[in-house]
Symmetry: C2
Subunit: 122 residues, 2 copies
Amino acid sequence: MSEIKQSSTNFANKLALSDECPEVYASHIIGGQWTLVICSWLLNGKLRFGELSKKIPGITERMLTLQLRKLEEHKIISRTVYAEVPPRVEYELTEIGYALKSVIMELEVWGKSHKDLIDPSV
Amino acid sequence: MSEIKQSSTNFANKLALSDECPEVYASHIIGGQWTLVICSWLLNGKLRFGELSKKIPGITERMLTLQLRKLEEHKIISRTVYAEVPPRVEYELTEIGYALKSVIMELEVWGKSHKDLIDPSV
DNA sequence: TTAGGTACTATAAATAATGTAAGTAATGAG
DNA sequence: CTCATTACTTACATTATTTATAGTACCTAA
């Protein structure tokens, strides 16, 4: 997060991969540490900054801000500011953001079966 | 890759998230920079180290090794060594590894539509 | 004896992502 | 005037991931 050096080999690699494989492209977009949690919560409806912050224990305000900004950049969520004091800002999935639902559900299914395989005790 | 400090907040966060949300758990496993490309190639059948290396331009041998080890650890691929000279090692998806197919396909679908949305010129 | 192929390993350095802690603006309530 | 509330921002520190470069073991074939 925060910085990407467009001259790095790393950047070039990511670009090349994303260019060829849509699935890698997708994973680079939603692969952030907190991205999926945020989207999962938003699947249930719009939420304010503070609500997200409470629902996601462990995330710092800085990280939440950064991730939300990134998601907004990628048109996955929309941000609505209400001119009130104290301020109110609501985040909501866009159409393409909402379309992540099937991806998330597949990940969920796979994740569960993988977990069962690795740790059958549960 | 390579090192994880089990005392860091970051580590704790990942653990907690993975614990609660199977989809986050899954994305932490397959979210590596090269993971999905490797799996995608292996969906078509077993491949040798050198073959993967050729099919994935840009990846260094070190990275390929690390990713393959990680995938093996997670039981997503299996590794078969043939006692020959020069050596031959084959990698193949396990059952749960092959089950990633539906995840990958959903990612692919979403990735394509997202790309179209962002850059409709193509 | 030397060169060559295969699948790695070792070490160091560069990049990127995340965390910590403090501070800001606006304004209405008291 | 002071405090509380909300959604951030900023500067800096730490941790994690990725790249670069070189080298290893093994046997075989020339």
